[in-house]
Assembly symmetry: C4
Homo-oligomer: 374 residues x 4
């Protein structure tokens, strides 16, 4: 917890760093990229690539979640989003697209807010998760801390195998006059592994680990669409936050004599280079959203927003429009590509970064040397 | 007073930081935003939100000051501005708007300079403050240090309850061949609380506190319109300046055995996130100007300038034009909104920032953890 | 000489700062700007404002030099420029202006290079300096180190009272197979004060002071037009360089038991705020060029370039075009103005910066507090 | 290896610097640029200027390699590029140019990828190197580590005198299931000097020196076209990397009792100022690519890309288009010029930078003082 700066008399702030301020340093032998493994395992579930999806309707539909799974990652459906509220989810999505690509693109956020006013229907959730369940894919869904207790029974009934409890910023102890969510009790009562977040510091990460979570999410999905920083003054510089959560993981491993809680980085990742940097800082996996929005399988036609875009009184995400490239999810994740910008062949690039620095698995790669650009 | 840098042989400068260089770190429990209070009290006057207005004619008219008060803040009329000099203040304002939105927008500053040449008339001040007085709102007005002695009797007669003595940079001891303002004597002779500023450092803040001021203003209303930095080479990085003034407040509290002087941040605040950061650095309240200019109640039709724009020989503010959104003051302050940029629902956002970091009142929130982005 | 950084193994670099990275901190009493003196004295010559002109043809003609003098500064004619080479200097200047404002503005540099090929004629120099001499203005001219010995007799004959020996970077010991200029001998042989430069560090400044120079120029006229940095990799961050030269001045004062050599800052000054910052760092006076180019009296019609623009094989300055504002030199230097950007009323702004920080003369103002923005 | 920063709890990164963050400080005598030597010797080969070409087809054709040699540098042909794969290399190049300057410039990378699929033909390599060999120019060619063993016999047969083994990032020990390249054995078996790289740190540089290489390349040709940083998260801040490689050179010199291995900087060099900075950091020579692309002799008509642009699945270079100036290689290298931007008269500028700082040869110039801009 060093590198404190006195920003004024008697008040310190800690210097914190973003992923784009660091660089991986090749400083050992090199290795063939064929000899590299990017495999990742969460609880009983094994994945070829360390990828979960950020639970935004802009990227994850029932069918795109299946495709993510087929490609080796974990698709996470938002159990409080459009597919949980609208029988004609595609029609609802079309309204957002129409507004965002029409004459008044700023009106799209209001459309999204309105769609989000419809009630959540358990049968729609069951229906939305069916393709994953029927296809023998790992079934994962996200709930907010506020509604976790209410919605989880339906999710379990719908076959959820990994539960994601995710809000912009969460903690193990939420203070409220209403009935709060005690995460520890909640997780104890469940038979499925829980991944919870986002957090931005060591202490909250450690507290979440102590609730029994299988994974802790660091960050709140910061993307070029996110404006949380401007709205709340709250920020989570991701390189520092991931390193701190990895320190919590290490300390918790020691305190429990061997329970390893996964650290999942969700935010500040724009390119394949940032994925490599996040892993190098200590992440076990990354949550991607914006990077997948351009894929042909993404349901929003190239648009992107995070789940906080639909907040009824204080949204913290724009709806950004990406030119669609015609690339499939497979090409975005594994190439090949004739685009040199780090936005396609995301995991081929990770594999190559590991090879060029001489590492053969992700756990080792967390020790790669780093430079800081200033 | 550490973090000194030797910028050359034998000469030190102190590293100082702006609000947009810091980030609030959520690192504790979270809390429901309903359980949060943003109340603030200055002398006998209690406010629902820690808001004073920057005393610029672009934002504060007699009627907008009333509206600010109805919404829980304190509107401060400039007793040396257009409403104090022109019986037809709205007509005068229209001339500025016409020039700024016409073919030669640069000519608007000259129009403003010319309007400012008209003499101040006490009866106009009385008239301008009448709606506040008649509506039982807290009556506040601003005078410059140069004219404070001359204008204050009329202001008191007009019912002023909080007097703001504000210049770009002021001190407790102004040296002059003309009769200077001794702030201590001046304040001693008054029955109403005085808020004075702006200041940029610990020593001047402490000296102003010792004059008996109820509040000290930090900063000089830096906004995107301000050019003081380019003109004078003088700057007040606000995160550091607020922290230093809060240190002066603490030391003065100790030296007096309990007199608490409020620190009001006036400058460097662009978004609701910056309001949260200013409070986190130790401010008791913020002075807002530019953020309110887009409101339908603001008298300048969406334009903004600070009071130094009208200086006859050395103006230090542009007239900037904001696209008007059609939002009311109420919506700007409290939402709801479909805009994600931190420019509306300003105090709803503050409330949420406090909740997400686990604080329930503003005084506690001054201790929240901070990161420094570099 | 502290603040060294190891940029790699076994190699240090020193952190150095530009003027726009520092801020003047008001931290004392304030003062009326009427009670402030900006007077400066070099040898026997007293000036109302601490201003010399950068010896570029773009700003200094015989008549503009007279005007500068009338306004309280020192105009320095380039004795190797257009007025020394062309009987019809105005016609020559017109060719540059025509090229720069024509269809191929990039060709203007070639025109300037060609004009600079014409031989220097002593009688033209005499003629060019006549208006200064006849008007009882201080007569000052600039020569390069390479041609100082050759041209100085003619300059003295033409009445030069202050001689400026100025190249991009000069030293007290120039090593050459040709006959070098030994500045110490050269200055010893003269009866007029010599100002020499530019330098960028403590050691060279001290060596130049030991040659007997009355003033040392710091910097090489860095402006928005200058590209020396890109061409040579050589840079002089001005805040640090001025502070270092002021340290040399102090040490030389001590070693001589009282000889005070003036430090003149030439570069990195874009606005009146930067003038204040340069003085705050320890400069006794500033050399201005680009700031004066917009004045109606400037001979290049609003264009600007430094003298290195005309180098025959390796020019290091663009020709930049400024929109002409119709302002006179008097207004640029002393206002009043309705422009808030720090480009007019340059010395009124300096006076006000001194007043707001409580200083009454320039020598005291060199001690004002500084912040560093990072 | 100091200047470590704790970017988070228990994890350090090292601050590293780019060439454009440093400045050369003139701090001694000055010198006539005529008295300066830029000569450089690699093994038995002497060069008037410390220039090798980056082995990209965009700059190096058989005829441009000859021209580089005539002008005093070393042209390096890519033995795995278009001239090695296409009998009608000019026709192949024309296809790239046509695509890059047509309606869909983004398609040019795919054209390049396709051209690169054609097999390498030994007789084409022989033919391509003939003009160098016949003209008694130093014959140099580049192979990748992957194909070095296979192609080197043909290269030697074709008269290669200096062999460049260059990949994006290489190491002395490449781990692979296929037969790896053991550089030490490989170099031992050869009679010609080998230059190998790129590397980014001290350790790899030292290991490469121990393989018997005559020169070590630092960097991977970073240019405005390169996107390796975005794709892999790997970066080599060049000022730090050159200094570190120079430290390895010094340590290896000591450990061998006198073997001097040359450090060649390949990347981060945009202007002549950057060439001077690279030499000042300790480079013995620079590899230039992008800077030469505008020359009339360059085969790609003003376009530029690095060799990684043609990677079949993960390209890491754009094809950038430069406006062609009509300048010859001779003018780009030695001027004269009427362009002040540091892109022509590259080695005249280096000579002048050395003169202005008082150095007469390149080895001494590696000790020049440096500032760090922050």
């Amino acid at each position: 917890m060093r590198d404190l700066v006195e920003i004024g008399m008697g008040r310190e702030a800690r210097r914190a760093y973003d992923l784009d301020q660091i660089e991986i340093v090749p400083s050992r032998r090199t290795r063939s990229s064929k000899a590299v493994s990017t495999a990742w395992q969460l609880d009983a579930y094994r994945f070829d690539i360390p990828l979960m999806t950020h639970p935004t309707d802009a990227v994850v539909s029932p069918s795109s979640a299946v495709r993510i799974s087929e490609l080796g990652g974990l698709g996470v459906l938002n159990a409080e989003g459009i597919w949980a509220r609208h029988a004609d989810a595609e029609g609802a999505m079309a309204k957002v697209i129409e507004a965002a690509t029409g004459d008044e693109p700023d009106s799209a956020l209001a459309v999204l807010q309105e769609l989000q006013q419809a009630p959540i229907q358990n049968d729609l959730i069951v229906e939305a998760l069916r393709p994953l369940r029927d296809g023998s894919h790992t079934v994962a869904a996200r709930v907010s801390p506020q509604r976790a207790r209410e919605l989880t029974p339906a999710l379990l009934a719908a076959g959820v195998e990994v539960l994601i409890v995710q809000g912009t910023i969460i903690s193990a102890e939420h203070v409220s006059n209403d009935e709060p969510l005690n995460l520890k009790d909640f997780i104890n009562d469940l038979d499925v592994p829980v991944v919870a977040g986002g957090v931005g510091d060591y202490r909250t990460a450690l507290h979440l680990m102590r609730t029994g979570a299988a994974g802790v999410i660091v960050g709140y999905g910061q993307s070029t669409a996110t404006t949380t920083d401007d709205v709340l003054g709250v920020g989570v510089p991701m390189a520092t936050a991931i390193v701190d959560a990895a320190a919590a993981r290490r300390d918790y491993l020691d305190e429990t004599g061997g329970r390893y809680v996964h650290v999942i980085a969700d935010g500040g990742i724009g390119t394949s280079g940032d994925i490599a940097r996040a892993m190098a800082c200590g992440a076990d996996a990354v949550m991607l959203g914006e990077q997948l929005a351009e894929a042909t399988e993404a349901p929003a036609g190239g648009l992107y927003w995070t789940s906080s875009a639909a907040h009824p009184s204080l949204p913290r995400s724009e709806i950004t429009g990406l030119a669609r490239s015609g690339r499939s999810l497979e090409q975005v994740l594994f190439g090949p590509t004739d685009s040199p910008y780090g936005t396609t062949n995301l995991f081929g690039a990770l594999r190559r970064a590991m090879a060029k620095t001489g590492y053969s698995d992700l756990k080792e790669f967390q020790r790669v040397g780093l430079n800081l650009r200033t």
